[in-house]
């Protein structure tokens, strides 16, 4: 079993929609969770970072961690065509990062 599992999509939504991206993880000891955004032919860039359970909001983005179900989510409100990218969830455990396979999102104008 992979440390972090993610639905690869692709996910296609109209502009302005609310997007929900999800991952599950295997080890209850994981505490640090990240979401990265990767545009085509670019390296990933850190979007959100959360520690333990709860929500964290940054503009149109909300990251949520549910440790009881080992579930992490990223919500994008008022999605824009510029949000079209691959989104990767990740966790940091003793300096090693485990990434999901990424969900490709397409926001149609």
């Amino acid at each position: 079993q992979k440390e972090v599992e993610q639905d690869p999509g692709p996910l296609s939504v109209p502009e302005g929609a609310i997007v929900s991206l999800n991952c599950t993880y295997s080890n209850s000891a994981f505490q640090y969770f990240m979401w990265y955004r990767q545009y085509s032919r670019k390296g990933p860039e850190l979007l959100m970072y959360t520690y333990s359970s709860g929500n964290k909001e940054d503009g149109r983005f909300t990251a949520q961690v549910d440790k009881s179900s080992k579930y992490i989510s990223l919500f994008i409100r008022d999605s824009q065509p510029s949000d079209s990218a691959t989104y990767l969830c990740a966790t940091d455990y003793f300096n090693k990062f485990y990434f999901g396979s990424g969900t490709k999102l397409n926001v149609k104008p």
Binding site: K96, F97, F99
Partner: protein
């Protein structure tokens, strides 16, 4: 300031040849990571360096893969006797220290083994 740079951006090589991929981290970043990203796959950890400590090589898939970091800065990932399954994008990332959570990624080297 300058971000993480990698060279070459693309590399096509014949099966059985050796390749070297280079990573220039952000100046002052002490931690450096190498990852492999295959089509439709997430990032697969390969190796990380922290300062002068021994690197964590636990993610290297075989003894054909090796990496070094000279002077605590530039790193080179070497793949010997390349195989077609080595075709992937190789990404390098650096961060200020091991305790920092934010990695800064380079654009990657796209390796194709024919």
């Amino acid at each position: 300031g300058a971000g993480v740079s990698q060279s070459p951006s693309n590399k096509v090589t014949e099966k059985g040849k050796d390749v070297e991929l280079r990573c220039d981290p952000i100046s002052g970043h002490t931690a450096l990571y190498w990852y492999r990203q295959s089509l439709g796959q997430g990032l697969e950890f390969l190796i990380y360096f922290q300062g002068n400590s021994a690197p964590d090589k636990s993610g290297l898939p075989s003894d054909r893969f090796s990496a070094e970091r000279t002077g605590g800065s530039v790193s080179t990932l070497t793949i010997q006797r390349t195989q077609q399954e080595d075709s992937a994008v190789y990404l390098c990332a650096s961060k200020t220290s091991l305790s920092s959570y934010e990695q800064y990624f380079g654009p990657g080297t796209r390796l194709t083994v024919t």
